[in-house]
Symmetry: C2
Subunit: 254 residues, 2 copies
């Protein structure tokens, strides 16, 4: 999620968490990171999301945030463990960057080069995250003044990653939310006039007209649409979209 106001993600998370073992096969852990200004709070658990007590707590008491990354895991590379549970967070340029990956990489040991950031667990995903940050650190030893240029370069790096397999990616520092589509990623921006939304995975409908104020802009990005009665944009393969304050501010074709 990327939004221009502190937003409650409870509705989307309610649908999302069902896919973690009930309506979807991703039962090997889940996690969610909420940004609050420059800080963040992560809840994660290497057990299925749909029946996790901690997930129910998050669902019922979500932290209002302008940037959230959540993930449910189906383990392929790396065993089921807390250190292998997404999202992953590292400090770079004095910001906390948070990362989640959907897909699978092979023969990626070359990504485990020396650099500032080293993986702690044994997933392909954390290796890819550290590689991306190490490459960015190499090109930008200081925080770049032109963040859009940095994200364009990040888009090129994401393209290079696809040589190792499939990597649909989300990356945020709490201000920007960068999404890269390898083969499947969808997004929707909700703004005034708001309407109703009906979850696919639970029999729940929300009327955003009642929940939101006229200036709110909220974007949700997900592997597959979370609601059945709204139009979600399907991202083109090998394409990125960059969001800021809930708004699509750049994509690969710009």
């Amino acid at each position: 999620m990327s939004a221009n106001v502190q937003t409650d993600i409870g509705f989307s998370f309610t649908g999302f968490m069902q896919r973690g073992g009930r309506t979807g096969p991703h039962r090997d852990g889940w996690g969610i990171t909420f940004y609050e200004d420059n800080g963040y709070q992560t809840f994660k658990d290497p057990s299925p999301c749909y029946d996790s007590p901690m997930a129910r707590l998050v669902q019922k008491n979500p932290i209002k945030s302008r940037a959230v990354i959540a993930h449910i895991r189906q383990a392929n590379r790396g065993h089921v463990a807390l250190e292998n549970t997404h999202p992953f967070t590292r400090e770079q340029w004095g910001d906390f960057w948070t990362f989640a990956h959907n897909g699978q990489l092979s023969d990626y040991q070359i990504l485990l080069q020396k650099g500032k950031h080293q993986p702690v667990g044994d997933t392909d995903s954390e290796a890819a995250f550290c590689w991306l940050l190490n490459e960015l650190d190499r090109k930008y030893p200081q925080k770049p003044a032109d963040m859009k240029a940095m994200f364009r370069y990040l888009g090129d790096l994401c393209l290079q990653l696809q040589a190792f397999g499939i990597a649909n990616l989300l990356l945020s520092n709490g201000t920007y939310l960068f999404s890269f589509c390898a083969n499947t990623l969808h997004w929707i921006t909700r703004r005034s006039p708001f309407g109703q939304a009906r979850l696919i995975d639970e029999d729940i409908t929300v009327d955003f007209q009642q929940e939101a104020t006229p200036n709110d802009v909220v974007t949700i990005i997900a592997t597959l649409p979370l609601t059945s009665n709204e139009h979600w944009h399907k991202m083109a393969a090998k394409h990125y979209v960059l969001f800021h304050d809930g708004v699509n501010i750049a994509d690969k074709s710009i």
Copy 2:
């Protein structure tokens, strides 16, 4: 806490959390980090611990762990915000290191040198943490084979920090727990035969004979003793003690 078995810290946390605004003045946030193998889970909140819903959740459902660091904050340097709330965690040598500080530093801008780790918030504590890790990284570009030697060097660095003020410190990677006493730090190791312990801050007594198994070794380190009927070791000023599996394995005089 440092322990040789996955241990429930609920009893100690129950006493500790009262000091976060009820029986003590540290009402500007609290946090707790539990290690699970190489991964960690942090709960933190920039509001008073004693009446925090998240703290009550942690108290009632503590994650069993072999290494835990908890902190309650009385803000002096840095505003009340999530990014300024201890403990702080950074990856170094492929491990997650977690840090908490009690004390206050002045004129510490010299610590904000270039290096791998940069603070995100504006506390003296996070600046000190990044400085320590950057100095360690400079001396040990790879994970040191002789960890006791590394901790001796860390003890020297902690001594240097005292030139800027007071820094009682805890640092752990989930395997080792390093404690440095500037002026006040106490510890107790509980092992067989276990007895009863009575909290100072709450009218609660626990019989560890009922809770622990004969081989358990559990050390609690705290600014001030948490129980009234046990003997806590008072650490000497400018002295460190290193714990591993609940056992004091090295201190400055060794």
